[in-house]
């Protein structure tokens, strides 16, 4: 039981980290990114390849994964800079799906649909599986905490204020002399760095990556995490990660109590309940469980 809860803690932590990254892109800068899972994949594959094929140290691999995620984010942002939000949504979704197809087919690099197994985990050789589990939870918690603090700083910094200004009215920000494009690209890159790091952490935790992991469903979970926590709010992002995992796993324990359901129906009901629960949260808390705070903790934003 403890191992299960610890593993869920790790998952929730990774979701929270992704939600924090998303919050910079979407909550602060107002840019839509439906390709989250693509940047997560870039981080996961980068670190997995560097550590398994080139024997790079795990820590270095993770940093490289984060950087690769950020660079990919900056590139996508540059290419799509002129696009309106709704187009950006579809382009980023298509980006993630194309990346998955490419990873499935370019066997020479990614090992294709076989995936990469045996990715090393930190201290894995010296710890028992449950110790490793706990240690990893600690690592993820520390990283989420750091990411949270950095995101908070960012949020209250002049940079964060400009991002929100761009989000609320791009033209006003441009007229005020802010280099809107540079800010957008930077916001995208920062957010995608967190996504890439989450991907690398995932790879070294489960020891296996394969294209089928990186499906749009994961993007939905992270979006839902941030939405239910509260867009524009880092505390909401962390809370949202937890909420989504509770819904995902909690529903497992409900369906066995409905004995007349067949197994397929129970499985379908479980997924139905997850999405329905999230929709209900959003229906009644449109701004999330923890709505975005005012710009300044003391002075209200006008």
């Amino acid at each position: 039981m403890e191992n299960y809860l610890v593993a869920l803690g790790v998952t929730a932590g990774l979701y929270a980290l992704m939600a924090i990254g998303l919050n910079v892109i979407w909550g602060m800068a107002g840019l839509v990114n439906l390709g989250l899972v693509g940047f997560f994949a870039v981080g996961a594959y980068t670190s997995a390849l560097l550590t398994t094929k080139l024997g790079v140290a795990i820590g270095v691999g993770m940093v490289a994964g984060a950087v690769a995620g950020g660079v990919a984010g900056a590139l996508v942002a540059l290419i799509t800079a002129r696009l309106r939000g709704d187009y950006l949504a579809i382009v980023t979704l298509g980006f993630a799906e194309s990346l998955r197809t490419t990873a499935s087919n370019e066997t020479w690099l990614t090992n294709g649909t076989d995936g990469i197994s045996g990715i090393p985990g930190p201290w894995r050789s010296v710890l028992t599986p449950s110790e490793f589990n706990l240690a990893y939870l600690a690592l993820v918690v520390v990283i989420v905490l750091i990411a949270y603090l950095l995101a908070q700083r960012l949020s209250y910094s002049p940079f964060g204020r400009v991002l929100r200004a761009i989000r609320d009215d791009e033209q006003v920000a441009a007229v005020a002399g802010k280099p809107v494009l540079a800010f957008k690209v930077l916001a995208f890159a920062i957010g995608c760095t967190a996504l890439g790091l989450a991907g690398a952490l995932y790879a070294h935790y489960t020891s296996f990556v394969v294209p089928d992991i990186f499906v749009p469903l994961l993007t939905l979970y992270i979006k839902m995490a941030l939405l239910s926590g509260g867009v524009g709010n880092n505390r909401g992002a962390v809370l949202g990660g937890l909420v989504v995992v509770i819904f995902l796993e909690g529903t497992r324990f409900i369906t066995p109590y409905i004995p007349w359901l067949g197994a397929v129906q129970a499985a379908a009901l479980q997924q139905f309940l997850v999405t329905a629960a999230l929709l209900v949260v959003l229906r009644f808390r449109t701004r999330g469980l923890v709505p975005e705070p005012p710009d300044h903790p003391i002075l209200r934003r006008t």
Partner: protein, 288 residues
């Protein structure tokens, strides 16, 4: 070689005309409600199953079955928009779009609870392709294409000649002006949800006619439908038709230069290419 290209173009045009029907639905909804409605995927599946019930369980022929597919998907569309998506709209298009993804998964699984994962086929004899000049062409495909063209004509007539259609165009072109002129925005939203999702339902059944259906039917074509609508210009109905043909033909012609395992990337590349050259799609975003 030339013959191969011609065959690929034919295959692409057939696929494209079917794609056009749900793409029109998507773009119509976008024109009025201003968000990409991902719930289109599961509504296409709803239509496919409604049509299957009509055709196989009730023994109706294909045309009235398509009618039921339209009606069922349309009604589900109105209901889900009213009770699920409408409250999200105040929170912005991105939130609504994500809500619609969640909705599509919820609906897919509702269908799975009712119908299971079994593959179901319509009660339709299979026929060999017609052959001419070394090319081949399926009678069922031609029929599907004809149905798609009739549906498209009906949509254009609806927009051009009916009060509801004119109101829809008014809201799409200029919501503020439409409100001043006394167009009931809520009513228009319901009409467009009904028509748009109804078209998705027809599209789902047309896709299933050729093959089999299961709860993932709509999901399989979602990306292509979105690519079609975006390439044509989100919000432009003629654009959706043009986009669908572009994507349909593009996905086939790509086989000349790509291996088949890269086919689904083509839609994305087409989107990128068109949007870089023309940021609001081939035909812009005027609804009509």
């Amino acid at each position: 070689m030339l013959k191969d290209v011609a065959q690929l173009v034919i295959n692409g045009l057939m696929a494209g005309t079917i794609l056009a029907v749900p793409a029109i639905g998507l773009t119509a909804i976008y024109a009025v409600l201003r968000f990409p409605n991902f719930a289109l995927a599961s509504h296409a599946t709803v239509g496919a199953f409604a049509g299957w019930i009509a055709n196989v369980v009730l023994g109706w022929s294909i045309i009235p079955s398509l009618g039921l597919a339209f009606l069922a998907a349309g009604l589900v569309g109105v209901a889900t928009d009213e009770f699920v998506l409408r409250p999200f709209r105040a929170a912005g298009f991105a939130t609504t779009a994500i809500g619609s993804i969640a909705l599509t998964i919820a609906l897919e699984n509702l269908l799975r609870m009712i119908f299971g994962n079994d593959l179901r086929g319509y009660d339709l004899p299979i026929t060999r392709d017609w052959r001419f000049a070394g090319l081949h062409l399926g009678p069922q495909q031609v029929e599907n294409m004809a149905i798609s063209l009739v549906v498209m004509a009906a949509v254009f007539a609806f927009l051009a000649f009916t009060r509801a259609g004119k109101a829809m165009r008014a809201v799409a072109d200029n919501p503020a002006l439409a409100r001043i002129k006394g167009v009931d925005a809520v009513r228009v939203a319901r009409i467009v949800s009904f028509v748009g999702m109804g078209l998705a339902g027809v599209g789902g059944m047309l896709i299933g006619l050729d093959t089999t259906i299961d709860p993932l039917t709509g999901f399989r074509v979602m990306l292509s439908v979105f690519a079609a609508a975006v390439v044509g210009g989100l919000g432009s109905i003629p654009g959706a038709v043009l986009g669908a043909l572009t994507i349909g033909v593009g996905e086939e012609l790509c086989l000349l230069v790509l291996t088949p395992n890269y086919r689904s990337v083509v839609g994305f590349l087409a989107i990128l290419l068109v949007l870089i050259l023309r940021p609001s799609g081939l035909l812009g975003q005027r609804a009509y």
